[in-house]
Structures are given as C-alpha cells and as structure tokens.
C-alpha cells in the first residue's frame, strides 16, 4: 500500500477527491465572489476589474538611499510602496544609542526623526501613492511622522492612503520585536484606530499578520488560526473602548505568507475569508459588508528560500506567488532570490517584480474569478482548514484568550514544535528541498549580493545629533511632557505624539518617555 500523504499542516490527502467530499451546502459555504461569506474573493470581478497591487518591500541604509530605491521601483511599474525599517527603528532606539551599534541601516532604513521621514518620501506625492510601513512597537510614532510629512507636502490627511503593520500580538507570538508590555501596546493600537477612524479615513491602521508566525516555523493551519485569533482580539479591544464595530472593521487588513505547499496555501486564503466574514457577522454583529470582507497582502515565504543554488528561489517564489493570486490576494510581494543571503540587489528585486508581471499579464490566470472554486479537493481542503482553525480557537478560548496564551507561551511552544518537526523532516529526507538535501551541487556558484555601505552608521549618527542641535529644545521638552501626560492619563496618544514629531523629537526620545510610564517586556523563552 502506498504511504499515506499529508499536507505540511498534517491534514491527510487522499489519492482522489470526489463530489461526496464537498460541502452539502455549496451556496452557504462557497457562494458567489463578492458576496458573503466571500470564500471566492471579496470583489465580484476580482482581477478582471483590478489587478492586485505589486508592492515590493524595500528599505536599507539611509533615507536617501531608500528614497532612490522607491523611485526606481515606481519607474519599473510598481504600484505601491512598502517600507522596511532597520532594527534600531523597529525597537525604538536612535541611531546613536549604544544598543544600535552595528545595526544601523542594515536590515532596513534608519529613521530617527521627522527629518529622515521627509527625506524618505522626497519627490513622492503622498496623496498619490499608498504606502505600507512594516513597523510595530513604535508604529504610532512612525504614523505620526508620515502624517506630518503629508502636512508639509500640503496633502490633506483624508487623501492619505496606506497601511501600518502595527500588529503587536504577533510580535510576542513570533517576530519578537516588542518595546512595551502587551497591555499598553494594545492601548496604542486602539489609540491609532480611534484617531484614524476620524482623521485619516483611508488609512489601514493595522495589518494583522500571519506572515511572521509562518516564518517563525508555524504550519499553515497555525498561521491561519493564530492570525485570526489576533484579529478577533483587536476587534474585542476596540469594541471594549466603545467603538462601533462598523466604524473600524472596514479598515482592518491582513497579511499572509504563501509557502510551497500549493493547494494548502490556496485553501488557507479561501478559508481565512470565510472564517472572518462569519465571525464578524455572527459574533461581533458587523453589518457593513466592508467589515466582513477580509482584505489581505501576501508575501512569498522567505523561509522557503535556500542559500544553496539561490537562482532556484526564483522558481519557488513564482509558484508561491501563483498560490497567492489563486487565493485572491489584494497585494503581493515576491521575494528576491538572494534574500536568504542579504538584502536584495537591484537585479534580484527586478526579477522578483517581473515574476508578478508575468503572472499578471502572460499566463491568463486573471481572466476568470476564483478559477479553482468547485474543485473537489480545494473545497474539501478549505473546509478542513476552517475546521482545524476552529479547533484552535476553542483551545485559545479555553486557556483564557490570546494575551493569556502569550503569557503562558502557548503560541511560542506550538510554533517551536512545528519548526523543529519541519527541520527534522528535512534532516531525515522525508521532505526534499532541491539543492539542500537533494540534487546538491558540489561547487556552488556565488551570486553578487548587496553590501551596506559601512559609513551609513556614522553618517546617520551624525545626522541625528545635528537634528538635536538645530531644533528648538524647549518645544521638544514641552511636547514630550504632553506625551508623558497622555500616557499616564489614558488620553489618546496620537495628538501629543504628532506634536512631538513636528518639534523634531526623535523616535528614541518619544519611546523613552513612554517606556518610563509603560515599562518594558521580557519573555520566558521556550525551546
């Protein structure tokens, strides 16, 4: 007898699927594109009406260099911007902090004050592009800087479009770049949601992210379940603040990984939309259809790339991108082949963008909506992904919710176990990876990689010190005192943080002010 087959999440895969494997109520479960429960996509016409946004994540060195890469990508036909910040910016340290040594501009762009943000978007009219910012712990500060740049460009906030990642729960669960403890972090998110609902109506205040959960080693089922559980937690937090669900839910967006197991990924995307729509309507009483529609960005799986025979990564990425498109994504980042070695070169990032353009224009997968609907296997797998996620929701409820799960290390342990299993499967050749444990080449060819200019750190350190010299110090101190007062009183922090960035207070100064009130966080690491 042939060995049984399973998806990487452990769901059994039969040799053949038939009509009896599909839902008895296809109208209820599959439905129509653009209609509840949105299994088939959130728009009736999907890519026939509008292609997905091609959004390559970029950021390295100084604001000036990243600005040049942005202009390059826009010239190549990219349709949205996506900003990568360096580690000190993500963790709330200025470039001249001792904790920043060796890290400035390495993994993204260094932003210390509004001065850097002005340079980052120089020549890019903020009323005309949408910008995604991968920033979490200090999201509220970078959001304020972006809005301050819009003011300086004379662009009204009502016209500003973009997305903050700002999903702090997945930081404690997976990506581990936090600043404050979970509770004040949740408050900052609700402050942003409340502010944006009134002042920046086209802004997506949070991008609830499974991407990093998957990169940390979770399965597709865990990515689906933990991400949606986080989403429910944000909805509950905003409702607890007294906001109406339909006031903020239309601006929630999601971010998923697209990994190698093609059909399981497609089923995951379809199941995600259905679970969200059902829960938003049935549990939270949302009435606006936009509150029920899960919009999401997809990035191909960085963790599926190999350092061995790196050009083969182009092929992996293309299949993963196809799964994202067949799953109905609203925007897409395709990884560059060299991202397992360093930040991407211009050549590598161009090939990655071209991969999306081939997908959009040459292979005709955009001509009909949700072409895989009704496939016995896809529908069956979609149902089972949903059921497996529901099992996790029950377990999370039993342990007392997401924050409690983080506190007791539930998610961290589930992910570490899955990551270890995956590595063992590779080590034991139960899973073959071309170039790693099969079809290995003795002589590996080296490809050129991007080098970060070693003078970046010094010039950025000098720049932030110059900003501190030039600004009006009394205004900075008054503004920081406003931040401190709001942190203590519970008043929305957005307005005082806007005042602080306008006065050229640095990110590190604002974070320090808040940390003095909120404290910091340390996890009990499990392995």
């Amino acid at each position: 007898m042939a060995k049984e087959r399973r998806t990487p999440s452990g769901l059994e895969v039969k040799p053949v699927y038939r009509a009896e494997d599909v839902s008895a109520d296809p109208v209820r479960d599959i439905g129509e594109p653009g209609q509840y429960p949105y299994t088939r996509g959130i728009h009736p016409g999907m890519y026939r009406d509008r292609l997905w946004t091609m959004r390559q994540f970029a950021g390295f060195g100084t604001a000036k260099e990243t600005n040049e890469r942005f202009h390059y990508l826009l010239r190549q036909g990219q349709t949205g911007l996506s900003t990568a910040f360096d580690m000190p910016t993500l963790m709330g340290y200025d470039s001249d902090d001792s904790r920043s040594l060796g890290e400035v501009g390495r993994e993204g762009v260094a932003i210390d004050s509004l001065r850097d943000m002005e340079r980052l978007f120089q020549g890019i009219p903020l009323g005309e592009v949408s910008t995604s910012m991968t920033i979490n712990g200090p999201a509220i500060i970078l959001f304020a800087m972006y809005l301050a740049v819009a003011e300086k460009q004379g662009v009204p906030w009502a016209k500003v479009r973009g997305t903050l990642q700002a999903d702090i729960l997945k930081e404690y669960i997976a990506q581990k770049e936090w600043i404050f403890p979970p509770e004040p972090s949740m408050r900052l998110i609700v402050d942003m949601m409340e502010f944006a609902a009134k002042e920046v109506p086209q802004w997506n205040t949070i991008s609830i992210s499974g991407y990093h959960i998957r990169e940390a080693g979770s399965t597709a089922v865990q990515e689906l379940a933990f991400t949606l559980a986080d989403g429910f937690a944000y909805v509950e937090a905003a409702m607890a603040r007294g906001m109406d669900v339909d006031e903020f839910a239309p601006r929630l967006s999601f971010f998923f990984n697209s990994h190698l197991s093609f059909f399981e990924e497609i089923a995951k995307f379809r199941a995600a939309r259905r679970i969200w729509a059902r829960r938003m309507r049935e549990r939270y009483g949302a009435k606006n259809p936009r509150s029920l529609m899960m919009r999401f960005h997809t990035q191909t799986a960085g963790c599926s790339l190999t350092a061995q025979q790196p050009e083969v990564n182009i092929i992996r990425t293309a299949y993963e991108a196809l799964a994202g498109v067949l799953g109905g994504t609203q925007s897409l980042h395709t990884n560059s082949m060299d991202e397992v070695l360093s930040l991407p070169t211009e050549k590598a990032v161009t090939i990655a963008l071209r991969t999306q353009q081939v997908l959009a224009h040459e292979i005709d997968v955009t001509d009909t909506v949700d072409p895989l609907a009704g496939s016995y296997f896809i529908e069956n797998l979609t149902d089972r992904m949903e059921a497996a996620a529901e099992d996790y929701f029950r377990r999370i409820d039993e342990i007392g919710g997401v924050l409690r799960g983080i506190e007791i290390g539930f998610f961290q342990r589930e992910i570490a176990d899955a990551a270890y299993r995956y590595q063992q499967e590779i080590d034991h050749k139960e899973r073959l990876i071309v170039g790693v444990n099969a079809f290995v080449e003795e002589q590996e060819e080296r490809i050129p990689i991007l080098k970060i200019d070693p003078t970046v750190e010094r010039s950025q350190r000098d720049a932030v010190q110059a900003v501190r010299q030039e600004r009006e110090q009394a205004a900075v101190e008054a503004a920081l005192e406003g931040v401190r007062e709001a942190a203590l009183s519970g008043r929305n922090l957005m307005p005082p943080i806007l005042d602080a960035v306008r006065a050229y207070a640095t990110e590190g100064e604002i974070v320090r002010t808040m940390r003095a009130v909120f404290g910091s966080y340390r996890e009990a690491a499990v392995f």
Binding site: M87, L101, G102, E103, K176, L341, I426
Partner: protein, 140 residues
C-alpha cells in the same frame, strides 16, 4: 561538574545559545538548541536582545564548553568580535565559539580568522551541528 565526572569525561557538553543584538529571529536558535539537547547536551538559551556583556556573563555563570551565537541582523561583524573580546578578558579563550545565521561568505571568512570555529548558514542539517559540536570539544 563533579571531580568524578571530570575524570571520566562524562560531564555532558554544555552549550550556551545566545541571541545578541536587536533582531527577533529565533527560529534557528531554538531548533539548534533543541537538536543539541536531544543529542544529550545541556543547553542554555539566553533569550532575545542580549548585549555581548550579558551573553559572556551567562557563559561564565553556566561554565559552558561552547557558545553559539545566532545573528540575522547583519550586525555580526560588530557583535561577534565584542563577545570574543569579552571572553578573552575573562580568560575563557578555551570556549568554542560558533555562529549561525545569515552571514555572507566573505564575512564568515573574517569571523573564522577572528577565532570563530564554525559558521553555520541556512540549510545546515542539525546533525552536522551536533557532530561538529562534539568534535570541537574532543568528544567525536
């Protein structure tokens, strides 16, 4: 370790897995920590965002044979020499230092020159790391 263990060489190999710097990528560090533990070694994992001082202090307190640093932030040419210098200052030059993460080959050569015994990049099998670790402390 007890004197008897030392005489007979039965003390398990003790390994500190450290995450210096600001990056939060701990998947590899945890997988390696667990593989070494499953291979019978005693493994201490520092947790994230450690300074070089904190790592060397832990290595000293825990009396480890091997220090493995996991770095995926690109800051390896700053952080690894800092840890090596501090180990040297503590007269701990006999501790075997290995590094894992996203390390370009040129930088890996540089690290080996500085005294790092091995650099493990993406795609390394955990069995290779276990074998290397045993051999590096003379327990092949």
């Amino acid at each position: 370790m007890t004197e008897a263990e030392e005489r007979e060489g039965t003390r398990p190999i003790r390994v500190l897995i450290g995450k210096p710097g600001l990056d939060g990528h701990d998947r590899g560090a945890k997988v390696v920590a667990r593989a070494l533990r499953d291979a019978g070694m005693e493994v201490i994992y520092t947790g994230l965002h450690q300074t070089p001082e904190e790592i060397v202090e832990a290595a000293l307190q825990e009396d480890v044979d091997v220090v493995g640093l996991s770095i995926l932030s690109g800051a390896h040419l700053t952080l690894v020499p800092a840890v090596l210098d501090l180990l040297h200052a503590q007269n701990m030059d006999d501790v075997v230092m290995v590094v894992g993460g996203i390390i370009p080959e040129e930088d890996a050569e540089e690290l080996r020159k500085l005294g790092v015994k091995a650099v493990f990049g993406p795609g390394t099998e955990t069995d290779d790391i276990v074998r290397f670790t045993r051999a590096s402390v003379g327990r092949a």
